[in-house]
């Protein structure tokens, strides 16, 4: 490859005829394509190509502004880079034979300098426009150019799915949008035009089949026009709503659990203790008058006390299983299995899991076993705890009657929320007559 540097002053042209030819061939207001044609004619090389250096892109572009990678030199075709005042401007891909006439090439290139420098600017603008167009097309957003008085000047839409009214150009915002929304759009657009902070406008539109949510942002794009950039946020809204509902359910489940706990304490251990207190008072009163009756009362109190203790233990276990914290999931599952009236086979866990995952696994198994006992009419249960592809898998499978409704109790819904809060999923598969399988997948990362 040859580099040609040209000083700021134009060189004296030794070949007058050629100099003339160039100016004949390259009219003063030539387009970049015409400059290329002119050079082809002047240098008698019909295959000559002009490439312009595009600073912003760091590469060459052709006369249409498309990226142009300089070819490898061959025995026929070579590349001459043209630099003016040490600034790259263009490159010529031309016949190798022209190298035999360096003066000719230098003169022609020198003569074409103004045209080439001007073309470089033009072609750069084209390249930039190409780039912006590509950028726009790659953007998932709808974009509207709107005049200060509300008329659509242009738009870009990846598809017409989100066009509330398919026709855009020539209409006004009041033609295309519900009036209240049109006003909000114009308020935001005017704010953008006045260089104030334009509000983000959130809105919903009723399409035939569904309600879709959008978010519009505004920016001034000319003296009296602004851009409205619209993104659909239906999915985000849905996720947000789901999150809020799930949070509310978690709070409600907590309240419900506490209420149940208070009720259980009140109806269970507390009543027994009250009754013991009354029996002891009676026994005390009868101790001298009727020692046999007093002894009977004390014996009854002792039994009542044993039951109260058992009820308190059961309640404490329901609040949080101490064995899980102290001895880990395996021991806790064995304890659950031991208390179950059905034979329970446990497979896993082979290794420790993170504490929140272990707790979730414990409650899944505990709830599922309770449901099996209550509803499934099963003869055995299998519990599997494993890992696969970065997920902890918890499965409880019975051979009962199936047909379980996952939403029947608040228990499974609560578990669903607990698992969702860890980024996992809970599935209940319960075909009638085949048994029920509860399966939780929780990511470990």
């Amino acid at each position: 490859m040859t580099r040609r540097r040209f000083s700021g002053a134009r060189k004296r042209m030794p070949f007058k005829p050629i100099f003339d030819t160039i100016f004949e061939d390259i009219p003063e207001r030539a387009t970049p394509g015409e400059v290329q044609e002119g050079l082809r004619r002047a240098l008698h090389d019909p295959g000559l190509q002009v490439a312009y250096w595009y600073d912003e892109g760091g590469h060459f572009v052709d006369v249409d502004g498309n990226r142009f990678d300089l070819p490898e030199e061959t025995s026929d075709r070579v590349v001459t880079r043209l630099e003016y005042a040490d600034t790259p401007v263009a490159a010529l891909v031309h016949a190798a034979s022209l190298r035999d006439e360096p003066d000719l090439l230098e003169t022609v290139a020198g003569a074409a300098r103004i045209a080439l420098e001007r073309d470089k600017l033009l072609v750069e603008v084209r390249a930039r426009a190409e780039r912006y167009r590509a950028l726009l097309q790659a953007m998932p957003d709808l974009m509207f150019r709107i005049s200060g008085d509300g008329r659509y000047l242009g738009y870009s839409a990846p598809s017409d799915r989100d066009l509330f009214v398919k026709q855009v150009e020539g209409l006004t915002v009041w033609d295309r949008l519900p009036v209240e929304l049109a006003e909000r759009v114009m308020d935001a657009g005017r704010a953008a035009l006045a260089q104030r902070d334009a509000p983000v406008v959130e809105y919903e539109l009723e399409f035939d089949d569904e309600t879709r949510y959008y978010e519009g942002r505004f920016a001034a794009s000319g003296e009296n026009e602004f851009l409205m950039i619209v993104r659909e946020i239906t999915e985000r809204k849905r996720q947000q709503e789901e999150l809020e509902t799930s949070r509310a359910r978690i709070v409600a489940a907590g309240d419900e659990a506490r209420q149940k706990l208070e009720r259980n304490l009140h109806d269970g251990a507390q009543q027994r203790l009250v009754s013991i207190s009354l029996s002891l008072r009676l026994a005390q009163a009868q101790l001298h008058r009727d020692p046999a009756a007093a002894e009977q009362l004390l014996e009854a109190s002792r039994e009542e006390l044993a039951q109260a203790l058992e009820e308190l233990r059961e309640l404490a276990r329901g609040i949080h299983p101490a064995v899980l914290t102290d001895r880990g999931l395996e021991a806790a599952l064995e304890a659950l299995a031991a208390r179950s009236p059905l034979p329970v086979e446990i497979d896993g866990p082979d290794r420790d899991l993170p504490a929140p995952v272990e707790a979730a696994a414990y409650y899944v198994v505990s709830e599922a076993l309770a449901n099996v006992t209550k509803y499934a009419h099963a003869s055995s249960v299998k519990v599997t705890i494993g890992r696969s592809n970065g997920y902890a898998l918890i499965e409880v499978e019975d051979d009962g009657v199936g047909g379980a409704d996952p939403l029947r109790g608040s228990g499974l819904r609560g578990l669903d929320d607990r698992i969702a809060s860890l980024g996992g999923k809970l599935a209940v598969d319960s075909p009638p007559g085949v048994g029920t399988r509860v399966r939780a997948e929780i990511p470990l990362e």
């Binding site: 009140h266 109806d267 507390q270 009543q271 027994r272 203790l273 009250v274 009754s275 207190s277 009354l278 029996s279 008072r281 009676l282 009163a285 009868q286």
Partner: protein, 118 residues
């Protein structure tokens, strides 16, 4: 003839203990009821001097039952009771028109008598 009493509580074990305890101190237990609606019915029929009324009942709560009892002709005295602490109910006990409150664990004829005197 002792004071006639209707015991209202949904826990049979409490009703039994309360009966034994109060009878031992000379009260005459004329009836028992296990919910609020029955309590009002039975009180109408038996016209007891006193209703020992648990606050937490399966249907109406004790305050509501006390309100209905107060509207009867020749209404009985009402003593509220609960296994909870009286303070848990704030001013409700004071406002219920009942003679007072006895925690279940402290129930005795003497405790009731003390409320009836004041």
């Amino acid at each position: 003839m002792g004071v006639t009493v209707l015991i209202v509580d949904d826990h049979p074990s409490f009703r039994a203990s309360a009966r034994t305890l109060l009878e031992a101190e000379g009260y005459e237990i004329v009836g028992e009821a296990e919910n609020g609606a029955d309590a009002v019915q039975v009180a109408k029929q038996l016209r007891p001097d006193l209703v020992l009324l648990d606050i937490q009942l399966p249907d109406l709560d004790g305050f509501e039952v006390a309100e209905q009892l107060r509207k009867l002709d020749d209404p009985p005295e009402v003593v509220l009771t609960s296994s909870r602490d009286g303070a848990d109910y704030g001013r409700c006990i004071e406002c219920s028109g009942a003679r007072g409150f006895v925690p279940k664990a402290d129930l005795s004829g003497a405790a009731i008598a003390a409320l009836l005197v004041t």
